[in-house]
Subunit: 391 residues, 2 copies
């Protein structure tokens, strides 16, 4: 009997022990959203393989994620207000909370201790402990002029333990200092422009740029000079006379910086605009195959790669940053939703939703070097984002 | 007997299994050189602790390292020609070769498959398989005009699977394309300036800049326009009339880019020079406490932090990039050799050789938040370098 128990114990310990995932670094890992299945894939970009599939993440029809500072965990933000902490080394869902009715994205604080989520319903930002997702702070987006809480959009992290976000319904930008998480200090900028619908922060964490749905131009906040307030730049940028629905307005995640330019999808035109980042002025327009959605910069800034909205969402175009023109067109398949370069830029991964696959291209030869099956893949996120600001 | 064997087997398996290091990501790890002991420390910058100490790495009095693309392995280049592959998750030396008599540094190819080492003796570059350190290629630095092999300095990796390096004795820069590792294609630039002693590549992988020991100025190669050859910039940069020994010339690793400026230690003067990176012209000089050695840019580009040569190597000064002046001075202890910001810039780690410690500062408050014991520490390298070019 004792022997039986001892054997059982030993085998149980062995089993538990052996179920440890194979030891590996996390710097070459990534996560891909399977938007129709509420699932994510954990991938690695050295051998180009899928390591794990993790299910149960709710509505990921519009999803994004950020990484813990050690690269081990992905925090996935789902449209249904779900916030899921995924262990990408084990391929397991660790913790999940449904923290609102309808959500649009999130961010992680500079020190990696806080997860912020921007919500439509109820309008505001909620902040959680990155370790166990325990709620830390709740910021209802009550407009400075009073009234119902606004939808919050364009949430980013900024240096010095801050978050920046926009209020769609009240035309405001808020800058929240979380040095003391229990008592965030909020600076409110009102009348920044009509209906900010999305935003970005530049890679150096200096400029917060919000797209405006209600008028032309972009709203700019210089985080090095916050006392100077918000100003308008690129005053001609926008729909002009044409009325487009807000979901067709370009995602600001689709703006890319390379070689002192910012490359920007035009609104309702088949063009990529080239902006000088020092003067915030337009210097060129590059004709492209369709309505651009994402412009992604190769890490060395030599090229930007562009994908397009339907019906041109079966191709990618490559723009040379010196020549400022299209130099190549690739056709990965139907439903090209997103692209992500490997950290040093040797490859690019492309999600091809309708063909249920990921395609990996060598950026030098522009040949496809791998294809991986994936169910309705959308966003692709590599772990080097763990060490970058504004993601 | 059988039972005895079975128990032994089970315990052995359990032991092997249990000796697996605790599962963790690698994105928050780092390596610190213990220059007097031929050892390195593996550290983590989330909790600020030492995880492992690895010995037997030979002469690390002048050492650098690069990371594998998954962040699991550090390749340490020692002065004695040693090339050591260290598993930082296990804290073990995996492979070590002594591949030359005297060596000065190395690089890893963009795809992570090749390790290149630059040697003084014999003069040249040797390339190894990153997996098992098997030799792949040997490039003796025979000058274009003939003669004995030159010492090689300033080896960096460049986009598109290339390496760039300089020949100290023959005034050349070579650009080696390793698309086919068995048959590297080398472009040789002669008469680039007298006695290049070190070099850097800008973060976008575009400009290779070599310091000149034999004359004033710097040699610049634009890797986007290699056919245009090498030209001289900053023609006044140098020793002027004063003769300094080469080991007192500023390391080009000590040049830092922030906000479209390059911050450069002056030669034999207590100044940091501010260079406009578009025009390669000097725009300002900032007086500082001593002869600058390393200038390091905070990841958001808001500040650069500077350390100094003896006798001022007990302090660090902080320069505000907007104001272009010193805004603070810190005194970590005696023998401040190196500084490295955490990837998102919330902290900075400082090696204090003579006090046998590492000091961690919060970059916002500038207060020391941790001290870790380390024996004669010098270089500090965090794993986000695995995802960056030119490291």
């Amino acid at each position: 009997m004792i022997r039986f128990l001892l054997y059982s114990l030993l085998f149980a310990l062995l089993g538990a022990c052996a179920s440890q995932p194979e030891l590996r670094g996390s710097n070459d890992l990534g996560v891909v959203i399977e938007r129709a299945d509420g699932a994510v894939l954990v991938v690695e970009n050295s051998g180009n393989t899928v390591l794990h599939r993790v299910e149960g993440l709710g509505d990921l029809s519009h999803a994004s994620l950020v990484y813990s500072r050690d690269g081990r965990y992905a925090y996935v933000f789902g449209r249904d207000g779900g916030l899921s902490k995924v262990d990408i080394l084990r391929g397991e869902l660790v913790t999940r909370v449904v923290q609102s009715g309808n959500s649009i994205g999130g961010a992680i604080s500079q020190d990696g201790e806080l997860i912020a989520v921007s919500n439509y319903e109820p309008g505001g930002v909620r902040v959680f402990d990155a370790d166990d997702l325990v709620p830390i702070a709740d910021i209802p987006a009550i407009p400075s002029a009073g009234g119902a809480a606004s939808k919050v959009v364009g949430l980013v992290d900024a240096p010095e333990q801050r978050f920046v976000f926009s209020l769609f319904d009240s035309d405001e930008i808020w800058l929240a200092d979380f040095e003391n998480p229990q008592d965030p200090q909020i600076t409110r900028y009102a009348e920044i422009g009509r209906a900010p619908y999305d935003a970005l922060i530049t890679a150096d964490g200096r400029y917060y740029l919000a797209g405006l749905f209600g008028e032309d131009g972009l709203a700019l906040l210089d985080l090095w000079r916050p006392e100077e307030g918000v100003r308008k730049v690129l005053e001609d940028y926008g729909r002009g006379d044409e009325k487009l629905p807000v979901y067709k307005m370009p995602h600001l995640e689709g703006f890319a910086s390379a070689s002192n330019y910012m490359f920007v999808p035009a609104v309702g035109r088949h063009e990529v605009l080239v902006i000088d980042e020092r003067g915030w002025s337009e210097v060129a327009r590059i004709p492209v195959a369709g309505q651009p959605v994402f412009v992604r910069a190769r890490p060395d800034g030599r090229e930007v790669w562009v994908n397009f909205a339907f019906p041109d969402n079966d191709r990618i175009q490559i723009i040379d940053v010196e020549e400022l023109q299209v130099v190549d067109t690739l056709r990965p398949g139907k439903g090209v939703l997103h692209m992500e370069f490997t950290p040093r830029g040797d490859d690019i991964w492309v999600s091809v939703r309708d063909d249920n696959k990921l395609v990996v291209y060598d950026t030098r030869t522009r040949e496809a070097v791998a294809e991986l099956p994936a169910r309705s893949p959308s966003g692709i996120f590599f772990t080097h984002r763990a060490g970058q600001l504004g993601f």
